[in-house]
Amino acid sequence: MANIAAGRIQRELREVMNSDEAIKNQIKIEFPIDDYSELQGEIIGPPETPYQGGRFKLHIKVPETYPFNPPQVKFVTKIWHPNISSVTGAICLDILKDQWAAAMTLRTVLLSLQALLADAEPDDPQDAVVAKQYKDDHDEYIRTAKHWTTVYAGGNTKNQELEQKVKQIVEMGFEETCAREALSSSCWDVAKAIENLMS
């Protein structure tokens, strides 16, 4: 890693660790000793959103050309959100692409991701299925996003009905993650989910 990037990242890590948000345990960054190119980030789901109560882990890759090019960020924790791929965790956010500016920091990125969780942009989706549900059947989207927060991010709104449906499909011999994804994509219609899984 180039010297500029490493020096700057060290200062940025201090900025994150000393920030109000980190002190309140809302954002976090961890890194292996002496390697600032691959970092682990974490944000909590904003209150009054389906992500409330969840802790979402992020993988942050700092390019050699940092800060002139943006860090590459992905969700490690699975999440149901129009601008984040439910399969790969890839994020669609302008500042991580062509609107990155060298004066921004990792703290800016983490706070922007939290803001994205609170305020999705379904017209510029990363995950077309989630975006469609968000627009066409918003209640279903909220129910599914809350469920994913509980299952994958340690949220605490258990939903027996949805769990039961997942179990039903798992018992047919499908893998749990696949079953949950299929159900989520088909608004928890078991017959439709099975059809998707078998096609």
């Binding site: 090019n69 302008d94 500016a101 004066a103 921004m104 078998m198």
Partner: protein, 267 residues
């Protein structure tokens, strides 16, 4: 049950099949490749070259040839910059700093403006800690002109990507700062129903975003540095048109514009 083979294939899936990458990844990889090619073929700031190199480049183009002939009556040399989207800032910065090598009074005035700019930008809400980084590097480059006014040093500074890009970032921040400070005035120049703030974060602050007139007007006003831009384009008349920024200034340097790119001109 749907058969997998007849399922409609989306554009994204198609790209993924072709490149083995997701769409965004494929676009980024392609951009990287183009950037790399440009990087290998041109320096950030070249040596001063006779203007005839330009005539050679365009020898099969009668419109440009006629205009280059016209340009040759007033200018003899060119210094090229890399076409990486930052060329205006790099050309402006280099050409202006070059005048500072021999103009102590102007250098003194500029140091004053540059020093003051940090506080102004922080007041506008730029994060102090990254801003300081860019400001410090910028001031270091300006002070080295004072301590050791050599053209060789200046070329070295501007060709060292690590430093050169820091200077570009600071010029971009100065431009953004001016636009935001006088947002009421600049709002009318902005297309697409965007606010000045949105325009700055989309078109001014990110690296590699090309400069338009509004960037030039803002930066030359912010620093009170006049420049002349000579336009080598397809406009009729066989003459190179010139325009001075800011309005009513006495231009200190001349830049050459051809669609999408800025270089430096010398008489």
């Amino acid at each position: 049950m749907a058969n997998k083979d007849v399922k409609p294939v989306s554009m994204d899936q198609e790209i993924e099949q072709l490149t083995g990458m997701a769409r965004d990844e494929a676009i980024l990889a392609h951009q990287d490749k183009i950037e790399k090619e440009i990087k290998e073929s041109t320096q950030l700031v070249s040596e001063k070259m006779p203007l005839s190199v330009l005539a050679d480049e365009f020898k099969s183009d009668p419109v440009y040839c006629q205009k280059i002939d016209d340009l040759l009556t007033t200018h003899r040399f060119i210094r090229k910059t890399r076409g990486d989207g930052n060329c205006f800032f790099r050309a402006f910065g280099f050409a202006y700093f070059e005048t500072l090598l021999t103009d102590k009074v102007e250098l003194h005035r500029f140091i004053g403006i540059a020093k003051k700019s940090k506080e102004e930008l922080i007041l506008l809400g730029f994060p102090a800690f990254t801003l300081e980084d860019f400001h410090d590097t910028f001031m270091e480059a300006v002070r080295s002109i004072q301590d050791k006014p050599s053209l060789e040093n200046l070329v070295e500074t501007y060709c060292d990507q690590g430093i050169s890009d820091y200077l570009v970032v600071y010029f971009r921040l100065l431009t953004s700062g001016e636009l935001q400070k006088r947002a009421d005035f600049y709002q009318d120049f902005i297309e697409g129903g965007r606010t000045v703030k949105e325009f700055c974060s989309q078109e001014v602050e990110p690296m590699s975003k090309e400069s338009d007139h509004i960037h030039i007007i803002a930066l030359t006003n912010a620093l009170e540095v006049g420049i002349r831009v000579a336009y080598l384009d397809r406009g009729e008349g066989g003459k190179v048109n010139c325009h001075d920024f800011y309005e009513g200034c006495i231009p200190q340097t001349t830049l050459l514009y051809r669609p999408g790119h800025y270089d430096i001109l010398y008489s």
